[in-house]
């Protein structure tokens, strides 16, 4: 018996499964927070949740409404200042996993959350900006990118580089002095991209249940490479779905 599930639910479950128990995880609001809390309630009870508002080891009993929700402070091992979060915890590379999303991503996992179209001074769309992303991208040991696939967001060329993935390819991170490994996975509604070990170009390695390589290629604005036989992601288990839906219900 299979339960019905949405592409977003698959994406959230896929993100949650990428979080190993005991890891320290820098969490943003929205899907990353949902995924991290799902992981903590399923296979990773000792996942350490860190929010940029300054909560170390938050254990919220509901989904936080914002990265600075009171439930995070109430349940954290320690609440510290924002400068401390960035300087003592993120910058030295203590945090295992950082989650990022964005308006645009390119084939090397670079991300734009700043402006779309026009130029910087006179953009077509002004996005929120960098927030914590550039330094999360630089300093977390590994980065997970979570975004829905579409040609508008998986683009050949970013309108603005807000956060660096692999720059223009292998070796760029080292040359820039970025000490984390960079994006190890891009988790999408259609499947998962991973950097090619030789070139760091994002390559389709896994497909969501029912999705095809052709669908993925059509949703990407560059000629997407794929491994010969992408593995198929296991659909969400009953438990994963139940816990996920219960979590989502806490903020509705």
């Amino acid at each position: 018996m299979t339960t019905e599930f949405t592409a977003d639910e698959m994406m959230t479950v896929g993100a949650a499964r990428s979080l190993r128990d005991g890891a320290a995880c820098f969490v943003g609001i929205g899907l990353p927070s949902t995924a991290a809390n799902l992981a903590r309630r399923t296979h990773a009870p000792d996942l350490v949740l860190i929010y940029e508002s300054g909560t170390l080891g938050a254990k919220p009993d509901r989904l936080p409404l914002s990265i600075g929700d009171g439930v995070l402070a109430d349940t954290a091992d320690s609440v510290i200042s924002v400068p401390e979060i960035f300087n003592y915890w993120l910058q030295p590379g203590r945090i295992d996993i950082g989650f990022l999303g964005g308006a645009q991503v390119d084939r090397f996992g670079n991300i734009n959350t700043t402006v779309i179209g026009g130029d910087y001074a006179d953009p077509k769309v002004r996005l929120p900006g960098a927030g914590g992303a550039p330094e999360i991208a630089a300093s977390c040991r590994e980065v997970l990118i979570v975004m829905r696939m579409s040609p508008r967001s998986f683009v050949d060329r970013l309108d603005f580089v807000t956060s660096v993935g692999y720059g223009t390819g292998k070796g760029d991170r080292e040359a820039l002095g970025l000490r984390g490994r960079g994006p190890v996975k891009v988790i999408t509604d259609l499947g998962v991209l991973e950097p090619d070990p030789d070139t760091c170009e994002l390559t389709l390695t896994q497909l969501s249940p029912g999705a095809t390589v052709e669908q993925a290629r059509a949703a990407v604005g560059w000629p997407l490479k794929a491994v010969d036989v992408p593995t198929e992601l296991a659909p969400p288990t009953e438990t994963e779905l139940a816990v996920l839906r219960e979590l989502k219900a806490t903020i509705e």
Binding site: L65, G70, S81, V82, S139
Partner: protein, 272 residues
């Protein structure tokens, strides 16, 4: 010694046209009432500084109080864009808005340098991004010991730092708890400071995780219950999530925004 003032007195005295001001609060304890009072008093040409400009900055920008925004993430958290901010940047409405854009790590370090009496801070940040090309307050710096390339950002020292806290005592010592973001640094970095508080109490009871600002580094304290609404004040009230959602259609539309503006400005005017 901090002075205990009424909010309108404090804004009139501390915030001048053309000042660089920072109203800080990281989701929690956002000094919204102080922002509304600045709108009410019709301040102009302000440089607004904040890591996370959200609704109250959208309102200040829409009301034409600002000529510049220094920031690292501007949005209506959990809802979407700030439309008054977008309208100002994209259409110079109601007045042109210059921006100086950083990352959170950069802004946090700029406040830290400001609080520390240093002209700049050093961080691992921005490298490889397009931000340094747009923002001239981001420069490379070399470690004099290892030769490594890092990034320098200049200190922020606002003319006025404004925050909201849970409590002050009658001498003006301030205590806040829960998520306290970059508020201590904001007050310490600023030339003048205003702390609005939920209540003034006889004595501050020490609490786990509390941040205390002694009265001798605070210029003025104003008692403004509910002064952080629609954000929250831990131990006092919850976040008014509906307000954030309801702001979206108001912020999107110049006319609806103008109507909203009347409701902020008028009641006070007619009460005088």
């Amino acid at each position: 010694m901090a002075r205990i003032l009424q909010l309108d007195e404090a804004i009139a005295e501390l915030v001048h046209d053309g000042d660089a001001i920072a109203l800080e609060g990281f989701t929690h304890l956002i000094p919204v009432a102080a922002g509304h009072e600045i709108i009410r008093q019709g301040r102009k040409d302000l440089t607004l500084i904040r890591m996370t400009p959200d609704i109250v900055y959208d309102q200040l920008i829409g009301a034409g109080c600002a000529r510049k925004l220094v920031f690292s993430w501007g949005g209506n958290p959990g809802v979407g864009s700030l439309h008054r901010f977008r309208d100002a940047i994209q259409n110079s409405w109601p007045v042109p808005l210059e921006i100086e854009e950083h990352s959170h790590a950069g802004m946090a370090n700029r406040y830290t340098a400001g609080a520390s009496g240093l002209p700049f801070a050093v961080l691992r940040g921005y490298r490889g991004t397009d931000l340094p090309a747009q923002t001239d307050t981001i420069k490379p710096i070399e470690c004099p010991f290892t030769g490594e390339q890092l990034t320098a950002v200049p200190a922020l020292n606002p003319d006025v730092g404004i925050i909201h806290a849970q409590q002050a005592d009658r001498a003006g010592n301030v205590q806040m708890w829960g998520i306290t973001g970059v508020q201590k640094e904001t007050v310490l970095a600023a030339k003048r400071s205003l702390v609005t508080v939920e209540e003034i109490v006889d004595e501050l009871t020490p609490r786990p995780g509390a941040v205390v600002l002694p009265q001798w580094v605070v210029t003025a304290v104003a008692e403004v219950p509910g002064g952080a609404h629609p954000s929250y004040a831990q131990g006092y009230y919850e976040r008014d999530n509906a307000y954030y959602q309801q702001w979206d259609p108001i912020g999107r539309d110049r006319e609806r925004f103008a109507d909203w503006l009347e409701t902020v400005v008028e009641p006070e005017r007619s009460a005088r």
